[in-house]
């Protein structure tokens, strides 16, 4: 059981959350016609054995999408932010 500390709800079991996959992949702008950019965003994964930036939504809670940095070998969580806080 991962324990994910939602920034506004506190630590919860991970099954309150919905996984959203790799958060390091850059989503092209909605009207970006660049095929390569979309292909890479949708399919290419770094899949690191180590720190992984990933999306989780506190779906059985505040429904906020979060960006979690987690080590895929130890499952230790390094940081958690609201996804909205992480935009440049």
């Amino acid at each position: 059981m991962l324990r994910i500390e939602c920034p506004c709800c506190g630590p919860r079991d991970h099954d309150e959350f919905r996984y959203g996959g790799d958060a390091s992949a850059n989503r092209p702008a909605y009207d970006d016609p660049d095929f390569e950019a979309w292909y890479r965003y949708v399919f290419v994964r770094e899949n690191p054995a180590g720190l992984h930036r990933e999306y989780w939504q506190h779906v059985i809670g505040c429904r906020q999408w979060l960006v979690v940095e987690r080590d895929t070998r130890s499952h230790a969580i390094a940081s958690i932010l609201f996804a909205r806080e992480t935009r440049a």
Binding site: Y30, D32, V42, Q57, Q64, W65, A76
Partner: protein
């Protein structure tokens, strides 16, 4: 073997009746099944896995390899329980297993004769012929012979529960280290949960004589802990697994004094303990010695012999050989001697310390040094041992052999999270590796086996653990055991309710008042290890002639030293290969007593050090866990929470056959419509086509979309445009996934300039909702849009059919629902009894129809109002089967077509896009393969053979083409069309063949049917939509 008249922690005033193999036996409260059997002279308890050798009781705890029994009957039958962990309870029914016809005479004992051929992995080398399927023949017999106990096939009648617990500090183990840790952390003010697998707390201290100073220490600790409301002691609770996030999985067994739980009570509770910090004080397990016939009943761990004596007042033998390679077994020897047994110590070491020898001498115990057991004699019970000594072999008669091959720290839980144990050479044991933040170890699990040290370490760990939680008040360390005054009188009276939940041991002074400084250091040397390796190697060389019989490394799996040697010879030398090839450590005991010796044997064979060979991975659970406990209450009708629409009860009361879909219960069909679903759906289709039907569509996903950018947002998430949708109008929309495949469809209405009401399919509602939130939170946070699921907010129903307008008008006479006020795809927002009422004129069935949305609490009222108003117009309810077939006639796609692989063009919906761009899925939706000529396209299929059924799942071929492979496509949905009086279907057919008018063959090889059909437009009914517009 006999029960002593006094002493032990049993309550002689409470007799407990139970049966073993049908024989009625009496024990006492405080007994385990094992101690009660031993007290009654039962020595032969089971037969071994492979060779069916007689086996007795080997240990006094969860490490038991031999004494596996089946408990209970019927649905309560539970095989393979270690008798050493079964708390004796009234009415317990225990049965020996893996024997036929009886325990005393087991026909499969004959396997022993074939033992030379049944070496490790022999089955990999044979049973391959004469035919390809020959294995299936042999396997039948092998399977019957394998297995241990027999499981029941009836459902388990008992109840299980799940509890969520939180603590600052969890302490695993209630021995000296655990108690000290709990006291330190509890004293500091931390919330502490102290976990003990046994039904009595105290750990190793419970095996001391009742008058030992440790007993007084123990009751002193209980008294102090009992005063702390922030400390909970959970006995009968096993910490079976350590999981991420400092979550411990615990199983609590509810002792009710009877074998089966009382009515309404759970048999076991799964406890999910989320602790900020954990102290592992899980102790150590004694290891056996390996010698020929080391499995005979009457041979047991030295510590177990001591537990049976001191805790259960059972003297397991009167002539005892204590064989050891370390000091710890001397304690057992001394206690057994004090209880009147004639004791001989065979110490493999050359020079045990003088003090021990002196004490032994004082007790009249003969100590033989450099003396090891070579062989045990006796079959159903040991009667003598042959000792190998420098002066030659010697035989000593005995009825109990107490062995100690050192101690292994109980590192299991500490390594569940992938922390590899490290080897501690001085103590010859693996100990926990470097644990993560907030995790501490104390006591024997660290490889330190002194009590004073355990108390100190426990105290320190408890203090550190509470400090880790930010709670740092210091508390006085409990005095060390050596300094404690004996005060055996003051024990259980002061205990709080939390401690009282555990049955308290009765502390009674033993008859023998003497007590001594017991050896606490186990001071092992490596001689045993070397000796064992040499023996194994010798066995390897001499083969079957090795020693006088089998020497078992793993008693439960019947793995012998020869098997290990064979594995080594064949190159299965990594510990994992060894385990997998020989099945070593794969039993219900997970090799708790066997792993270490096997490792050291392999190390010896490979001429490597033990840590170089490594250890196998420890996996949860620490001891076996009932699947029922893991499922808890989520069984039967609580398996999943079910969703009911606001009109659910009406449907049930009015004869609906309900069907689950996405956890919703929906009316499948109404029994008034027909005898079975096939008859009913046709009748309900006719109803809608000819009069009107009412359908509960509350399960549709509903999402409220608001904000100044709402229209822009919808323009991006749908392939078709919504920005120009007028207020008061609805539009059908399709969403794609990012990869260009169709995601979901639905209707979205515009309630205001900045306000939309979206519907989704029932199946995809949650996914769509989450995806919209994802896009807003991560991709387009600059859009001012709020999305909220309102699925539960609205009761929704569809009245469809030529009479629907009349019915609606009759039900709501005040509403203007004229074609002008409410055109096709128009929307009305009104009030009904001060609540919101939303009417959208749209149709899934192809008939004139309205969707009516009203606050959920008024759903049944509005439904009934419509039914009443509609009665004169022939209105009746219809179910999802009819809905699913009505839409086929109209060529509307649904789940079977939107299957996660189809594109817009596949579904014939490409035209919806027009020249738009900037919507989700646009770019990857143009991938090359999406325009392949073999790509499927939605077609209509019309049966051309009267009365012959088209089947969903049939594969499509050109007439005359060989029917093999994947064909040109398939029928996705099919129905009998009462309107056309033919079978019609929707299909996905290769574009190059999807020519209207062409004939096609639909093959259903499972039934051997092939049916001819014509490719037509998927819209079978009213292609111009006249029924919709009037």
């Amino acid at each position: 073997m006999r029960r002593l008249a006094i002493g032990g922690r049993i309550d002689r005033s409470q007799q407990i009746e139970f049966t073993f193999d049908g024989r009625a036996i009496t024990g006492f409260r405080g007994d385990t099944l094992a101690s009660a059997l031993l007290a009654n002279g039962v020595r032969l308890v089971g037969r071994s896995f492979k060779y069916h050798r007689p086996r007795g009781i080997y240990s006094a705890g969860p490490e038991e390899p031999n004494a596996l029994v089946t408990l209970g009957t019927g649905g309560r039958r539970e095989p393979n329980r270690a008798a050493t962990t079964v708390e004796l309870a009234e009415g317990l029914v225990a049965e020996s297993q893996n024997r036929w016809p009886s325990l005393n005479f087991d026909a499969q004992g004959i396997n022993g004769l074939f033992a030379p051929f049944l070496s490790a992995g022999f089955y990999y080398k044979t049973f391959m012929g004469p035919t390809r399927r020959a294995w299936m023949f042999y396997e039948h017999f092998i399977r019957k012979a394998a297995g241990l106990g027999r499981a029941g096939e009836e459902p388990d009648p008992d109840r299980y529960d799940v509890r969520h617990l939180f603590a600052d500090v969890a302490v695993v183990g209630s021995g000296p280290a655990g108690l000290s840790a709990a006291l330190a952390a509890g004293g500091a003010g931390a919330r502490v949960v102290l976990i003990e697998q046994d039904f009595a707390p105290g750990g190793s201290l419970l095996s001391d004589p009742a008058d030992a100073e440790s007993v007084a220490w123990l009751s002193g600790m209980f008294a102090r802990l009992a005063e702390m409301p922030n400390v909970s002691l959970m006995t009968r609770t096993t910490a079976f697994g350590a999981y991420d996030g400092n979550v411990l999985g615990l199983v609590e067994r509810h002792g009710s004094g009877t074998a089966d739980p009382k009515q309404g009570q759970a048999r076991q509770t799964l406890l999910l303990l989320r602790a900020k910090s954990i102290v592992y004080a899980s102790g150590a397990l004694e290891r056996p010695l390996t010698f020929a016939n080391n499995d005979r009943p009457g041979i047991m761990l030295a510590s177990a012999a001591r537990v049976y004596l001191n805790r259960f007042a059972v003297l397991a033998g009167t002539r005892v050989v204590v064989a050891t390679d370390n000091d710890s077994a001397y304690r057992a020897a001394f206690d057994l001697a004090a209880a009147g047994a004639e004791v001989t110590i065979a110490d493999g070491r050359a020079e045990p310390i003088h003090e021990l020898l002196e004490q032994a001498r004082r007790r009249g115990i003969a100590v033989r040094t450099k003396s090891r057991i070579a062989n045990a004699l006796g079959s159903r019970s040991v009667r003598a041992v042959t000792l190998s000594e420098p002066g030659g072999p010697a035989t000593v008669k005995c009825d109990l052999v107490a062995v100690s091959g050192g101690w292994s720290a109980t590192v299991h839980l500490t390594s569940h999270l992938g922390v590899k144990p490290v080897y501690r050479e001085d103590m010859r044991t693996f100990v926990p590796g470097k644990l993560g933040a907030g995790l501490f170890v104390a006591g024997a699990v660290t490889g330190g086996f002194t009590r004073g040290g355990s108390i100190e370490e426990g105290h320190r760990a408890g203090a550190e653990a509470s400090a880790f939680c930010g709670i740092a008040k210091s508390v006085q360390q409990p005095v060390g055991l050596e300094l404690t005054e004996i005060d055996a009188g003051s024990h259980d009276n002061s205990l709080s309710a939390s401690l009282r939940s555990a049955p308290l041991p009765h502390f009674v002074r033993a008859h023998d008042g003497s007590h001594t400084v017991c050896p606490e250091h186990h001071r092992p040397d490596r001689s045993e290890e070397r000796w064992f390796a040499n023996r194994t190697r010798a066995g390897d060389e001499k083969g079957a002639k090795f020693a006088a019989g089998k020497a078992f490394a793993d008693l439960q799996m019947d793995v012998t030293t020869q098997d290990i040697a064979l594995a080594h010879r064949e190159g299965y030398e990594s510990v994992e290969h060894l385990k997998r090839y020989t099945t070593l450590g794969m039993g219900t005991d997970q090799g708790k007593t066997s792993n270490f010796h096997a490792l050291s044997a392999m190390a010896g064979l490979r001429s490597m050090a033990v840590p170089e060979v490594g250890t196998t991975t420890f996996r949860p659970p620490y001891t076996p866990v009932a699947i029922g406990a893991l499922a808890g209450r989520s069984i039967g009708h609580h398996y999943k929470p079910i969703r009911r629409t606001p009109m659910h009860d009406w449907h049930v009361a009015n004869g609906a056959e309900m069907l689950e879909g996405g956890l919703w219960m929906r009316p499948w069909f109404y029994r008034a419509s027909g005898r079975d679903v096939n008859e009913a759906y046709v009748a309900e289709m006719r109803l809608v086509r000819e009069a009107a039907g009412l359908m509960d569509i509350s399960t549709l996903g509903k999402i409220d979309v608001q904000g100044s950018d709402a229209a822009e947002f919808l323009d991006r998430v749908y392939v078709n445009a919504f920005a120009k949708l007028p207020v008061g109008r609805a539009r059908y929309g399709i969403m794609l996934r990012d990869d260009g495949v169709v995601f979901d469809d639905g209707t979205t209405s515009r309630l205001g300039e900045r306000h939309f009401f979206m519907t989704t399919s029932t199946a995809k509602a949650a996914d769509v909702m989450s995806r919209l939130e994802f896009l807003l939170d991560t991709a387009w946070p600059d859009l001012r849009v709020s999305v909220t699921s309102v699925t539960d907010e609205w009761a929704a129903m569809s009245v469809a059919g030529p009479n629907s307008r009349d019915i609606l008008a009759a039900a709501f006479p005040d509403l203007d629902i004229s074609n002008e006020a409410l055109p096709h795809m128009g929307l009305l927002e009104e009030k009904y009894r001060d609540r919101r009422l939303r009417i959208i004129r749209l149709s899934f069935s192809g008939e004139w129809a309205y969707e009516i949305y009203v606050g959920a609490s008024l759903g049944t009222e509005v439904w009934c109002r419509l039914m009443e108003a509609g009665a004169p117009f022939g209105l009746k309810p219809y179910g999802v089967e009819a809905l699913g077939t009505l839409r086929i006639e109209k060529g509307h796609v649904a789940g079977p077509e939107i299957d996660g692989r189809t594109t817009l063009d596949d579904l014939g919906l490409g035209r919806m896009v027009g020249k738009r761009s900037g919507y989700v899925g646009e770019v990857l939706g143009r991938r090359a393969a999406f325009s392949d000529p073999t790509r499927p396209r939605l077609v209509g299929l019309r049966g051309v053979e009267p009365g012959r059924q088209l089947h969903a799942g049939a594969i499509l071929f050109r007439p005359g083409e060989p029917m093999q492979g994947h064909g040109l496509g398939r029928i996705t949905s099919a129905t009998y069309s009462p309107t056309l009086d033919v079978w019609v279907g929707l299909g996905l057919l290769a574009r190059e063949s999807a020519v209207e008018g062409a004939e096609i063959v639909a093959a259903y090889p499972i039934t051997g049917q092939t049916v001819r059909a014509r490719v037509v437009s998927p819209i079978f009914l009213d292609p111009k939509g006249e029924r919709l517009h009037g």
